[in-house]
């Protein structure tokens, strides 16, 4: 059970008022709000311990380095990475995915090699592969989605073959909320001799994740989607793979020796962290994980699922609604459209009541085409939401879309 006063941990709910109405924030799949503890961690770092890391030769720098490395250990434990050297800090999940596409893909893919993705990928797990495919001549294939918004494993099996070099799939869809069977997908990929990557942008924040149980080779997450600061993300990778991989960006911190025209590289994870990292960001992410763990990942997942189910049943009553959510394996993400009211208009209607949802293609245009819509409205829940938020959503929606129904003159207030 989630504490009922969780909202109080997040100062924005006390501070933001829209015409006196409280903020009902239902866009956590885009980015989450930040608890006071995370804001305080940033403040404390900058006010007391700020220094550059790793290269420091004085105590302040050592303290900053220790705090930064503790953050790495924290992330490693959070997803059960085994060793903290398996964690590379990045800007966000997008950079984690690009890092693999570039550092691994550019050096290991060749003409005709096959990359398998799925029909429900976020652009961040599509566009990097388009770029690398253009450079290497590799070919993209796709795991089909069923009519119940789930990945069709038979289609994965059909696609897998001797040319498959990597399978990269989203753990939880940011549009549908579907939890994909990534453990099974990784197993099938490995059986075919391919590597397996999981886009965990929407799983790490919402459930207990065990990357070694999943047995993925790579896993990407974003701090800002899990109560952490913007500008910090992480890549998990099996250490042996990191050791074998070429680096991504070049610069300070990632080298052993640099000569005018050649260089050799430091050990992972440093090899992949060129330049001064987002030190405060990492420390803030640690505070976020501390906070989430205190709330309990199992608790969070159950709470969101409950809200997702409740919202699905409440919204099903709305006339002309279409809900895009699997019958099972759903989460606290709920996409929908309403006949003859565009999602962007739905969002404005709700915004006028202080309810923040997202409307658009959610960086998943191929999925939108598959769903035969141009965009959807999406409500996404997190630990600070509760049933009254869902009721507000349903109420505002009913009221607002009435505006778009054929109306009598008297309705219009000029």
């Amino acid at each position: 059970m989630m504490r009922s006063d969780v909202k109080n941990d997040f100062p924005i709910f006390a501070n933001w008022k829209k015409k006196g109405k409280p903020l009902i924030y239902l866009d956590s799949a885009a980015t989450t709000q930040k608890p006071q503890k995370v804001i305080d961690a940033l403040d404390e770092y900058y006010s007391r311990y700020n220094a550059n890391v790793h290269r420091g030769t004085y105590e302040l720098s050592q303290l900053a380095t220790d705090m930064y490395e503790e953050a790495r250990t924290k992330v490693a434990r959070f997803i059960n990475a085994g060793k903290s050297e398996s964690i590379v800090f990045t800007r966000n999940a997008t950079e984690s995915l690009n890092l693999i596409a570039y550092a691994w893909g550019l050096n290991n893919l060749h003409k005709g090699d096959e990359i398998i993705l799925s029909e429900m990928e976020h652009h961040s797990n599509l566009v990097p592969w388009h770029i690398i495919a253009r450079h290497t001549g590799a070919v993209l294939k796709f795991i089909r989605m069923s009519s119940d918004y789930r990945l069709d494993l038979q289609s994965l099996k059909d696609n897998l073959g001797p040319k498959t070099k990597i399978v990269s799939v989203v753990h939880v869809s940011n549009v549908l909320g579907t939890i994909n069977p990534v453990k099974e997908i990784c197993r099938l990929a490995h059986e075919a001799g391919a590597l397996a990557m999981v886009d965990g942008a929407q799983s790490a924040p919402h459930m207990a994740v065990d990357v070694r149980d999943i047995d993925c080779d790579f896993y990407a997450l974003s701090g800002h989607k899990m109560c952490g600061p913007t500008g910090i993300g992480a890549l998990y990778a099996k250490y042996e793979l990191l050791e074998k991989m070429e680096p991504f960006m070049g610069g300070g911190e990632m080298i052993n020796e640099v000569f005018p025209t050649t260089s050799n590289y430091a050990k992972p994870p440093y090899k992949f962290e060129a330049g001064t990292p987002n030190i405060a960001g990492a420390i803030g992410l640690k505070a976020a994980i501390d906070y989430l763990e205190k709330c309990g990942m199992q608790n969070i997942m159950e709470h969101e699922l409950e809200l997702g189910d409740y919202a699905a049943s409440r919204l099903a009553e709305v006339e002309g609604i279409h809900i895009f959510r699997p019958r099972a394996t759903g989460t606290g993400v709920l996409s929908f459209t309403v006949d003859s009211v565009h999602p962007h208009d739905i969002s404005t209607i709700l915004d006028s009541e202080g309810i923040a949802i997202r409307a658009g293609h959610h960086c998943a245009q191929p999925l939108m085409r598959k769903l035969q819509v141009q965009s959807t409205a999406r409500a996404s829940f997190y630990l600070y939401n509760d049933k009254s938020d869902v009721d507000a959503l349903a109420g505002a929606l009913e009221k607002g879309i009435a505006l778009f129904r054929p109306r009598k003159k008297a309705n219009v207030v000029e």
Binding site: H342, P343, H344, D345, I349, S352, G360, Q374, V412
Partner: protein, 146 residues
């Protein structure tokens, strides 16, 4: 600042029954615009003859504001010179930004989009068609050759 100021009857009417929807076969200018924030995607096609906009149509998909704005814009610019259309665009931007002024005479039905100025998030929707048109004038020698 109520929703009724935004979703006026005229807007909804243009949204539900858009004017000039389609593509002009012999267009001298075609241009496409995106609104990343909500996924609006609009195509404008225009036929310019001797500096005058002989015909203007739009297609694509989007929200009520972007669609209504495109519908109204294509009505408005038809028969105008390219220079006049540019001026209308400028005036329209000022109006939806909320700049005080008397827009009634020139703006025609577009005046019904004045309420957008109270909804900053929607300004981009209202201006999408106009920007798409205007930017392509520059790239196509005032719309005379694509």
């Amino acid at each position: 600042m109520s929703l009724n100021d935004l979703f006026t009857e005229i807007i909804l009417d243009h949204y539900q029954h858009p004017h000039n929807h389609g593509i002009i076969a012999g267009a001298t200018l075609t241009s496409r615009g995106f609104n990343e924030s909500c996924g609006d995607d609009i195509q404008i096609s225009v036929l310019v003859k001797d500096g005058v906009i002989a015909d203007a149509k739009f297609s694509g998909a989007g929200c009520s504001i972007s669609q209504a704005s495109a519908s109204i814009m294509t009505d408005l610019v038809r028969g105008k010179t390219v220079e006049e259309a540019r001026q209308l665009a400028g005036m329209f931007y000022e109006m939806v930004k909320g700049t005080e002024g008397d827009y009634g005479e020139e703006m025609g039905d577009a005046i019904s989009l004045q309420g957008v100025s109270k909804f900053p998030v929607r300004v981009k929707c209202a201006t999408l068609a106009w920007h798409t048109l205007e930017e392509s004038f520059a790239k196509t020698n005032n719309g005379e050759n694509k």
